[in-house]
């Protein structure tokens, strides 16, 4: 099953998405695309893995870390499918990061690697934009780089864990205006999903809706206002986002 959250007639609705990718309300009514706004499909803590693909570590001239390099985002940053992300004026490099997002399904504390997959509720697609100009230190992805308003598209929906046979063998792809720019596979994760859940749940209690952005493979590129950026994870979803300028953004707030 696929579950999503939308804004429809100024109301937040929990909906499902059928096999034809149509949004279905709890009353069974099909809503036409364009009549609603996609919201982030979950609410919770937002963990992001830095340098969790060996090839991306090489791209940044880093040795892969010996324990997960986790940072947090604040929820101000999340937006849903088919929304707009603004590029600050006067920056040189803003890039997407296509990521498989693990959504926690039940409370988890001190979970073993062996049991960890039982705590996965589902999966979705995340795009973890970064403004590299603001990166003062690679090991310190400051919130100014990573937790900006509109900078973390997520969705369109959550696919139930049981519907993804092998989350460690999924192709990730990013397209800018239809041109393939990034490609990787979750089989190359440095720390895989059970390892990440065990690691985090040793530190703290995870709760349903918490999100783990598992990292991005190599293939980053600059994005400019007007670009349509599509991030997809095989079998999980296709997440579309449009870049706008800061001045356009300022008119919307």
């Amino acid at each position: 099953m696929k579950s999503a959250r939308i804004l429809f007639n100024n109301e937040t609705l929990a909906v499902t998405v059928n096999d034809q990718d149509q949004v279905v309300t709890q009353q069974g009514k099909i809503l036409e695309e364009g009549s609603f706004t996609w919201l982030p499909p979950c609410e919770g803590k937002i963990f992001v893995l830095a340098i969790n693909y060996a090839d991306h570590a090489a791209e940044l001239s880093f040795k892969a870390p010996d324990e997960p390099l986790v940072f947090l985002k604040n929820k101000n940053s999340l937006i849903g499918h088919d929304q707009q992300t603004y590029r600050p004026d006067n920056v040189d490099y803003m890039h997407y990061e296509c990521e498989l997002v693990v959504v926690i399904g039940k409370e988890a504390k001190n979970v073993s690697i062996e049991d960890a997959m039982d705590y996965v509720g589902g999966y979705t697609v995340g795009n973890d934009y970064a403004i590299r100009d603001y990166l003062e230190n690679y090991y310190r992805p400051n919130l100014r780089v990573k937790s900006r308003d509109t900078c973390t598209p997520i969705g369109p929906y959550i696919v139930d864990a049981k519907d993804i046979k092998d989350p460690h063998n999924l192709v990730l792809r990013t397209y800018i205006n239809g041109e393939l720019k990034q490609e990787g596979n979750t089989e190359d994760l440095v720390f895989n999903i059970p390892h990440l859940i065990a690691y985090l749940s040793e530190i703290m209690t995870l709760t349903p809706g918490d999100m783990i952005f598992t990292g991005t493979p190599e293939g980053l590129a600059d994005v400019k206002p007007g670009d349509v950026v599509t991030t997809e994870v095989e079998g999980v979803g296709v997440l579309k986002n449009t870049i706008i300028s800061e001045s356009e953004y300022l008119k919307t707030i």
Binding site: K45, L69, V70, F71, L72, N74, N137, R140, I203, M204
Partner: protein, 254 residues
């Protein structure tokens, strides 16, 4: 006090009543019964400003000019205290075993009153509801440049409360004495005049790229975690901020 009748209530707090969260107000702090039903005063996001203390920054001056830092941070370094860390007045701080020393982190908490996007420092206080006391508990801060999730985001590592005091009751937020007591002995004193970035500058900076919502709390800045601030199972730690309140939490082994 009859004279306050009809005026804005000065204290805002939350309490658990038969499994429901109830928001309440009071004219005076003595009207609030501080029992185990008290919750953190809001349920918003909690964002900390690291390194926002003059003595702490000075102590790191040399290290900041060497590898791997190379240079001191140009902008305030922020961190997040996740929801699993938030606990109210009187709740136990749980220390993990074998993770080394744990330190209290006395700080003024700035409680946001309304949605704030790209706010100027000059009118930043218009977006503040009031102030609270935060104990930003942490394992040793061995590294300020690395994401410190494992040091800062353990369950119960962020007591907040007991209430939000209305900003109108706090005339000088940038000059408030902060005292930390462990088992009733005064162990540490600081003041919000030791912040590098003022309350107004912090709000302006954060809101320049992160929209703050009503109920969000900003931890203005914690001092250097010296041995005086180390906490151990069996301790009771109290942080007292002039004109804001006193936050007390017992400490136990996890």
């Amino acid at each position: 006090m009859l004279t306050t009748f009809g005026k804005k209530k000065m204290f805002h707090y939350r309490q658990k009543e038969s499994n429901e969260v109830v928001s309440k107000t009071a004219n005076a702090s003595f009207e609030i019964k501080l029992d185990d039903t008290i919750l953190p005063p809001t349920s918003g996001n909690v964002i900390g400003v690291a390194l926002n203390n003059k003595a702490l920054a000075k102590s790191l001056e040399k290290a900041f000019n060497e590898k791997p830092h190379v240079q001191p941070p140009k902008t305030p370094v922020l961190h997040i205290k996740t929801d699993n860390t938030h606990i109210g007045y009187g709740k136990n701080i749980k220390l993990p075993s074998d993770k080394g020393a744990v330190f209290a982190g006395p700080s003024l908490g700035i409680v946001i009153g309304k949605k704030a996007t790209r706010v100027d420092a000059s009118n930043a206080l218009d977006f503040v509801a009031g102030f609270t006391v935060v104990n930003e508990v942490s394992l040793a801060e061995t590294s300020f440049y690395r994401p410190a999730v494992k040091a800062k985001c353990r369950d119960t590592f962020c007591p907040i409360g007991p209430w939000t005091v209305d900003k109108s009751a706090v005339s000088t937020p940038n000059k408030l004495s902060i005292k930390t007591f462990i088992n009733d002995a005064l162990v540490h004193e600081t003041n919000t005049d030791q912040l590098i970035y003022s309350v107004e500058e912090i709000i302006s900076y954060i809101s320049s790229f992160m929209t703050l919502e009503a109920g969000d709390i900003i931890i203005a800045g914690t001092p250097e975690r010296t041995a005086d601030l180390a906490i151990n199972p069996g301790d009771s730690v109290m942080i007292d901020i002039e004109g804001v309140g006193r936050l007390v939490n017992p400490v136990e082994q996890e």
